[in-house]
Symmetry: C2
Subunit: 278 residues, 2 copies
């Protein structure tokens, strides 16, 4: 394959995968190359723009570490994450909908007991959370593993605050009780901008977009025989519900948060319904 | 834009660029998102595959430093670099063709005098290089800046050899003489595999591809009033001329290298013809 030009190169690259013995990888690479080349041809990418693209991807990689995942931010802000979630989470009617995972999950969240206050010293208005987890037929799911994580009143997750080191707050992992219920105390979530000090933030600014996400709590719920549910509960009346910068809002996930009254803190209640596996 | 699904998300992301005041950036982002989403839908990317993609891009970023550009390797091996070169280097008949820049250029190559031996202690068979640089109408281009870089007999560029530190060899920058000629001594280039110790190498192996590039010297030639020429000269009869892993071979760039005879070293001769600017 000498003397390849802009018209013949896509076939040449696709043919280079002829000896790939993993049919799924071959399918993915073939489709990726075809669409990527179509993009380059469609916009007639200049060599300076190609260099800028290489620089952008390199900086994005260099921003990634154990506490920051800039490629997930890129995927989130370009709608690739939500598209993947939508393609893979066609939940049956009645099951709780899924949304994006986000870049702030960590796998070392502390285990907490029912009723615990997980806020630690995270600034924010106290909020009681009282949720129930059932199967699609209404059966309570006892002992389901529930991961919860959220930003504080300043819009920051624990992992974004250097001074906290490995200390975790406003984040925990629980088991539901015999009735499938989970009660804990945390703080009212706040809207926040995704981090704008990296290449993805610069892209949003250059593209005329705001970086805000409406206030939400993250939940990941695992129960045997059921599809793992990765979702959020959004705070109602948030100004960014209609322009979430990662395209993740679903009406069914806008939660009911009763405001504080006197000494009774705000209270979020919700019923999570898990779809059966398979 | 709540309740976005796999069908409506692309429009939603494209509309998010409505307030971008840079028309070219808006065009590029719109096309990129459209093609990227089409790819994700076409293959019905799973969430595990999405995670693998995030991991792959992150590792690719982490391999990049001042001496290693893994994203250029990725672009090269997927044909994106050569496609961009082809789109932007539609040279007029008679002008020397362009090919990929590659990841091993550095901007601190030592300046060398006509006739210099630039090999240093790079292992390899000595080779004299005798080239002329002219404009498209045959006028010799005196004082043209010529950057040369190449791998040694072991297939390694200087920047790939940690022990060399910042020392450069088989790499230099020259000016052509009053007749547009440039003579120097270096070594016969050798075929080499692109680095396979990173994610791009693992992708090639998984895709059933070899990582080899046919032997070549890199040239970048700049002269006032002319398009900068970024190209290679390939060694003839190389076994990889028909399967260059970066798709960069052009018949017109396969050079004449006269073999060594007795005490006369091998000799490469070539006539570079630069296109007019604009």
């Amino acid at each position: 394959m000498k003397n390849i030009d802009q018209h013949t190169i896509t076939d040449a690259v696709v043919r280079s995968f002829d000896h790939c013995d993993n049919p799924r990888l071959k399918q993915i690479l073939t489709s990726l190359v075809t669409h990527l080349h179509d993009f380059v041809r469609d916009v007639r990418l200049t060599e300076a723009e190609w260099s800028e693209g290489i620089r952008f991807l390199t900086e994005t990689g260099h921003m990634c570490d154990a506490k920051r995942q800039e490629f997930i931010l890129l995927s989130d802000t370009l709608g690739v994450s939500m598209l993947t979630v939508a393609l893979n989470n066609n939940k049956p009617p009645g099951a709780t909908e899924a949304t994006v995972f986000g870049p702030f999950y960590v796998d070392d969240a502390p285990a907490a007991e029912q009723g615990a206050d997980i806020a630690g010293d995270a600034p924010g208005e106290p909020m009681d959370v009282d949720v129930i987890v059932t199967s699609i037929d209404g059966t309570p799911l006892a002992g389901a593993k529930v991961d919860v994580w959220q930003a504080d009143e300043d819009g920051l997750y624990d992992v974004q605050i250097a001074e906290l080191g490995a200390r975790r707050r406003a984040r925990a992992t629980f088991k539901t009780d015999a009735e499938g219920r989970l009660r804990f105390r945390s703080i009212v979530p706040s809207a926040y901008p995704i981090p704008t000090d990296g290449p993805v933030g610069r892209m949003l600014i250059a593209a005329g977009r705001h970086p805000w996400r409406p206030a939400h709590l993250h939940f990941m719920i695992e129960a045997p025989g059921h599809e793992t549910l990765i979702t959020h509960l959004f705070r109602d009346a948030d100004p960014y519900l209609d322009s979430d910068t990662v395209f993740g809002v679903r009406s069914s996930l806008i939660a009911n948060i009763a405001p504080a009254r006197g000494s009774t803190p705000a209270k979020l209640t919700h019923h999570f319904v898990l779809a059966l596996e398979g």
